[in-house]
Amino acid sequence: MVLSQRHKWETIGAVHATLVDGAARLPPSAVPAIPCIRRPKGARVTDAAFGPDLGEVFGPSHEGGGPDLIQLLTPEGERIEHSEFSFDLGDEQILGFYRDLVMTRRIDTEATALQRQGELGIWASLLGQEAAQIGSGRALRDQDFAFPTYREHGVAWCRGVDPLHLLGLFRGVDQGGWDPIADKFNLYTIVIGAQALHATGYAMGMQRDGVVGTGDPDRDAAVIAYFGDGATSQGDVNESFIWASVFNAPVVFFCQNNQWAISEPIERQSRIPLYQRALGFGFPGLRVDGNDVLAVYAVTTAALQRAREGSGPTFVEAYTYRMGAHTTSDDPTKYRVSEDLEHWKLKDPIERVKAYLSRNGVADDDHFAAVEAEAEEMAVHLRKGCLELPDPSPLDIFDQVYEEITPELQVQQAQFAAYLSSFEGAHASEQGARP
């Protein structure tokens, strides 16, 4: 059984006195019993020599995101002040976010349903992470560039990618139907963490093109790299931090800490809160309430602005929760308790915006119904479009490999074409049926 987050942190905080000097304070289950070791003579150190007590850094005080969590809209829909960050746009903007959030969730539910009905091979749901994606996606300017994982359907929405184009990869008809260059939204990257380096390199290109720190708001640009909590363990991600730091690249590392990497909880990737790692690489790290679209927008806007101005990278940890399965192939009941889920349900990213809007008379039920209706209409379009997505031609794959096809590959293509036509249109995908 998985302990709830709260219990885990209590345990971690409670055991800090039991270990040998200087060692990181770890939960007992994670640390094999270490016999008392005698300090070698002549090497006396104080207890403080090895730095702060990590049990306190990553202790009970981190329940619910910890003291550094930046929040501007509470789960109950109250606007609150933060000493450093504020949301300065009006209610019009919040209405827009609301629509984005609802539409994004609707894309997600429709895709999940399509998978259940066998129309998609698999789907990676963003349920629960809508605010992290809309808040950061809406902070982007047209000239910025985003590098997603495979779950950034909300960011795709903000970039203007047709939701239908997201389905191709999951249906198995293509590997991303949009134009990454034109949409300034890279193809989904499934190999965990690889895109963090691509984002950094792209940002280095922007530096060289003179579109960083000119002071012209329509010209200065930045990059945002999306990845998950699990990805922070990958070499590529850590190398991207070093590159970005050393070259002061205009990139925002946007980590959605949804607490899980398939079945592995965040404790399997890090002993300290992720945002605190950034300092060690030489740039600031912030933790924002990933279910608060206003705070995510405010923090990401500021981080992107820093990057565009030439002040270098920022790490933003959006503290959130993966409400669904890892993908439609996954069964989370094997590894996590529903208690956590219930707890996070109360922090739903959409409900709090809705509560704010209705409490303050910004929107009424008619408005909400109209947004729902629009989402329904979009879902119908999505479903219809999905069923009509054409299968690729097996012969086309040969043309896509190189800018200039090789003679060898042309021969393979021609032979395969001849082979396929030998079935005279009746190529049996049912095995066994020979011409």
Partner: protein, 324 residues
């Protein structure tokens, strides 16, 4: 006798190896509590504890790099790579460290590491989940590479691999995980580095391994109805190759077709073709033909059935060989 799936065969083999030797440990992403995304390590953490079945951080280079250190300390790590396409972050550790430490230390350092990789296509997956990277490893001196094709071999071969003091890349045909066969543990297994004649025949020899063994056997059954007698050999070991049964068969039939999912250029078929023409030249009635993946990245899954060698493509090659 019990009927087991291929996945269960690996699972039972792992369990047997862990019971036999406390130094055997399992490491990988999601292998513990979840029991692996294919449930191949199901129940092992529960029974052997978190010290022996380790849910690792999400970093393949880390999995293999720490396995090297554990091996130096006397452990026998069995590393799971979640899918074929995710082995590359660990490629440097595998090729430059795992494969070379024995050589560099002149035998003072042993690397009894097993790297389990579910491989191949046919399950309708998204990109990076259907690849066949075996040639990269078979090309690397210092590694041994095997592929199981059925539940009984899965059970024995994983244990034999763990017993080996050399590093072994162990390929599991993921689309065959659910295939069943009877396991009789009283029947002693063949040696790990041996190929096996799965079906005897006189007209054409078909060489296959992993997922393509079943395809080839089905092709042989279909061909038999048309009066063509196909001999099917399951290579089982890709490096080293067990060539003698292959040469014997090639000399008998004079016609050889090699089948694999991996792209054709410089795949296992290239080496087999070269060796057969070197050793059996005067016996051959036709050039060695290859049925393999095309020299393209693995395509979107909607057309994988066309891309993958299937019964028809095997028989097409058999026909071409016979027409020579």
């Amino acid at each position: 006798m019990t009927a087991i799936t291929l996945g269960k065969g690996v699972n039972m083999g792992l369990r047997a190896a862990m019971e036999k030797d406390p130094k055997v440990i399992i490491m990988g992403e999601d292998v513990g509590k979840l029991g692996g995304v294919f449930r191949v390590t199901d129940g092992l953490q529960k029974d052997f504890g978190e010290d022996r079945v380790i849910d690792t951080p999400l970093a393949e280079s880390g999995i293999l790099g720490t396995a090297v250190g554990l091996a130096m300390r006397g452990y026998r790590p069995v590393c799971e790579i979640q899918f074929d396409g995710f082995v590359y972050p660990a490629y440097d550790q595998i090729v430059s460290q795992v494969a070379k430490l024995h050589f560099r230390s002149r035998g003072r350092v042993k690397m009894p590491i097993v790297i389990r990789i579910p491989f191949g296509g046919g399950i309708g997956a998204v990109e990076h989940h259907s690849e066949s990277p075996e040639a990269y490893f078979a090309h690397t001196a210092g590694l041994k590479v095997v592929a199981c094709s059925n539940p009984v071999d899965a059970y024995w071969m994983i244990q034999q691999s763990i017993d080996s003091d050399d590093p072994i890349v162990f390929f599991e045909p993921k689309r065959r995980y659910w295939e069943k066969a009877e396991l009789d543990e009283s029947v002693a297994p063949d040696g790990l580095f041996t190929s096996r004649v799965m079906r005897e025949g006189d007209d054409v020899t078909v060489l296959a391994y992993g997922p393509m063994v079943k395809t080839s056997l089905e092709a042989a059954a279909a061909a038999a109805e048309e009066g063509t007698s196909i001999e099917v050999i399951d290579l089982r070991t890709l490096s080293p190759l067990d060539l003698h049964p292959i040469f014997a068969s090639a000399r008998k039939t004079g016609r050889v077709v090699v089948v694999h999912e991996a792209p054709v250029t410089l795949g296992l078929g290239s080496e087999l073709s070269a060796r057969i023409s070197e050793e059996c030249f005067y016996f051959l009635e036709a050039p060695v033909l290859r049925v393999a993946g095309f020299d393209t990245p693995y395509p979107p899954s909607r057309i994988e059935e066309e891309y993958l060698p299937d019964l028809d493509r095997v028989l097409d090659a058999v026909d071409r060989s016979l027409e020579y």
